[in-house]
Amino acid sequence: MALDMLVVDDSPVTRKMVRRAIGLCGLEIGQVWEAGDGAEALSRLAEHRVDLVLADINMPVMNGMELVERMNADPDLSRIPVIIVATPISEQRIERLLDIGARAYLAKPFRPEALKDLVLEILGKGESHG
């Protein structure tokens, strides 16, 4: 089944890069929506059903951490996995993101294969070994 995704980043170039990586990674992709910050992301999520959110951290208006917290507090949105796609950050910040409900962290720049592996793992579609 095709995956519908929401890409959240204040940089239009990065949103296009992530869309390109999604297209290259070999997953069956349906609709890919975009938002420029966390607040816009919540509006998109109110309008569209998605299977996965890929979000940056440092954004104006509402950053990625607040977006994760707001989604986790909403019963309708808490089921949607969020992968944080951001610049290298401290281990403490990664732990904090996972504590508040993000499912994974992927450091920029990343290879499309790394995104694919992470998505498959999170959605429980990874290859079984042994």
Partner: protein, 148 residues
Amino acid sequence: MVDVTPELLTDILGTVLQDSAFMFVEPDQEPVEWSDKVFAASLAFESVRGGTLRLTMAVPAGVELAANMLGTETTDPEAEENGRAAVSEVLNVIGGAFVTRYFGAKVPSQLGLPQAMLASRPVSGRRTCAALVRTEAGDPVLLELDLE
């Protein structure tokens, strides 16, 4: 905390340009003559010490960066339109790489939001350290660090 040296900045700059946009660069020595306009971006950071990173790219280098990040050609109007945004984003990645390497991955650090503009000349600062590289086409790219 490692020593901040031109070699450290050159390594971070070269690695990020290569990994983000398949741009291969060679270290060079200043002074550099900036012809025409430049893309100038700055990014503040807070950690054990605060400071600012500044990235200056010749316009053709910024357009090449955007084209490579978007998977298009430098002649594509989309590449030219996104040069400033591409320089801003690559400085964001450089900032993350810098704070985790300089202060360490276990030390809390905070990046600001990158600001980029098309300028007639590089924006000057106190400049603790700097690294100059050139793209394969010979266009200059300058990364400067101002530590507080």
